[in-house]
Amino acid sequence: METIIFYMLAASIVIFSVLTVTTRLILRAAVYLLFTLLFTAAIYLMLNYQFLAAVQLTVYAGGIVILIVFSVLLTSHINDRLELESSGRRIAAGMVSLVGIILTTATIANANFAPVKTDALTMNTKAIGNALMSYGDNGYILPFEVISILLLAAMIGAIVIAKKR
């Protein structure tokens, strides 16, 4: 059952991500992106990463997609069709992607990953919070502080850039 659900989710992710980059209506591209992110969150849930799925839903699906939809509505008409790149460039980009997919697929198929069957770590929110705030061997206090400064800088930067002069 879970296997069937996984492959359905995987197929939906692939289909919606391709639709995201091929649709001519930009609002639809944003909605297809939302579907891709939602199904990815579903896969995180299947893998037992509940906190990550919640963060994915709130930050990506709730925050970034809403921001993108707002900016789409501010900058273009709903019925505007995105102009197409010249067919030569589209073919070139398609070839780059296709060659990349083929090369990477061949590499992954020959990689021989060895999945480990040990008891999975309990990924509850308490353990994540302890890991983020600890100074010890498995602590992430430095990247945590760095990303807090990054977010502050991004917030100030966004305000300074977007405010009316």
């Binding site: 992106l33 995180y44 990463y49 997919i101 999945p115 994540i128 966004a158």
Partner: protein, 105 residues
């Protein structure tokens, strides 16, 4: 659970999303559509990190923490990018990447 799904299949899904994002980034001219493609790429990387974390190193949480940080960086990047896009639109009345070249020369 999920024992009969090999880790490679997660990689293939992430791969398709990643190269769909690459294709979109190369072919789109609208700046917001390019931003959407970048979000696809980052999402594919997250999926890859999480799958490797779960299958290859289930006793660690590095992959998941990395995904959390990538989501945070993606949020910051989207906020700044959209501020820039709206400012460009206010000045130039277009967000077509080929017409936004007044800083080029």
């Amino acid at each position: 659970m999920l024992a009969d799904i090999p880790v490679e299949h997660y990689s293939y899904v992430a791969l398709f999303v990643f190269f769909a994002g690459i294709y979109g980034f190369f072919t789109r001219k609208n700046m917001i559509a390019m931003l959407i493609s970048i979000e696809l790429i980052l999402n594919a990387i997250n999926l890859q990190f999480v799958a490797f974390n779960k299958y290859l190193y289930p006793d660690l949480m590095e992959g998941m923490i990395f995904s959390l940080f990538i989501i945070g960086v993606a949020a910051a990047e989207a906020a700044v990018a959209i501020a820039i896009i709206i400012n460009v639109y206010r000045r130039l009345k277009t967000i077509n990447i080929e017409k936004v070249n007044s800083m080029k020369y």
